[in-house]
Amino acid sequence: MNWPDPGVLPHGPAFRLVQSVEAIAGDRITCACRIPDLFPLVAGAKMPTYLALEGLAQSAGLLAAHLACQDAKTAGRAVKSTPGYVARIRQATFIRSEMDGTLPWSADAQLEGRSGHMILCRGEVLQGTTLILQAGLALYI
């Protein structure tokens, strides 16, 4: 399996929520996430659910990088790594208002479309079997 290493994300260790890629199939990725040491936006064990949006965005960024890498290889072009950032939160619904920041969670992102530098995706976050949030994002790559 040739899955992307979360280390390709432009985030430093204190803000890199994706710990590993669990699966990639077609236009979909599942990543294992957790709050790193020194993460600046959590004050205790309970954390606001919206912080997990970052894990979903990073997962989508890894998926976009993986697909761009595949495209480049198919076209015989050099693989170029480009950082991305959240350009739009199209919608996000927080099924729960808070989650346990000491436990891992999974982020599942699916590509919905691409337009120029913009990547559209949607996804969800689960902690264990509990659905935490659902969201649609646009990333600028």
């Binding site: 430093g12 204190a14 803000f15 600046p40 606001p48 099924i95 729960r96 208002s97």
Partner: protein, 134 residues
């Protein structure tokens, strides 16, 4: 829930005004602020969730800690938020459970969108967070 304090984020505010319809605050974001930590090394940008955290802090001060975010809609980030800027955030009531958020600085508008509210204490396991409004 323990919301992170402005001190922990390394952020301070120089203005906070509110009335029943509008809440606005102005924040100072120093280069060394923890809120920029590792996002991204060498070219720090305020993360999207950093802006949402500042809005959440404002909500707590304005409406009380029991009020939280139930949803976000059409939140656009149009201009990067970088260190050393003074960032204004305006929250305006649109409905009983919806706010319009606009973030701007001297450089222009950075972000805007809609925030949905709910009572944190009303959340029941498995039930939509936005079920009970404020």
């Amino acid at each position: 829930m323990n919301l992170v304090s402005l001190d922990s984020m390394g952020v301070s505010f120089v203005k906070f005004e509110d009335n029943p319809a509008v809440c606005q605050a102005e924040f100072v974001l120093p280069e060394h602020a923890a809120i920029f930590r590792d996002h991204f090394p060498g070219r720090p940008l305020l993360p999207a969730i950093g802006l949402i955290s500042l809005c959440d802090w404002m909500l707590g001060r304005w409406l009380g800690d029991a009020v939280g975010l139930a949803f976000l809609r059409r939140v656009k980030f149009t201009l990067p938020m970088v260190p050393e800027m003074r960032l204004e955030i305006h929250l305006t009531r649109r409905d009983v459970d919806r706010l319009r958020m606009v973030s701007r600085s001297a450089a222009g508008e950075h972000a805007s969108g809609e925030l949905g509210l709910h009572m944190r204490t009303a959340v029941v396991d498995g039930a939509p967070a936005g079920k009970e409004t404020v």
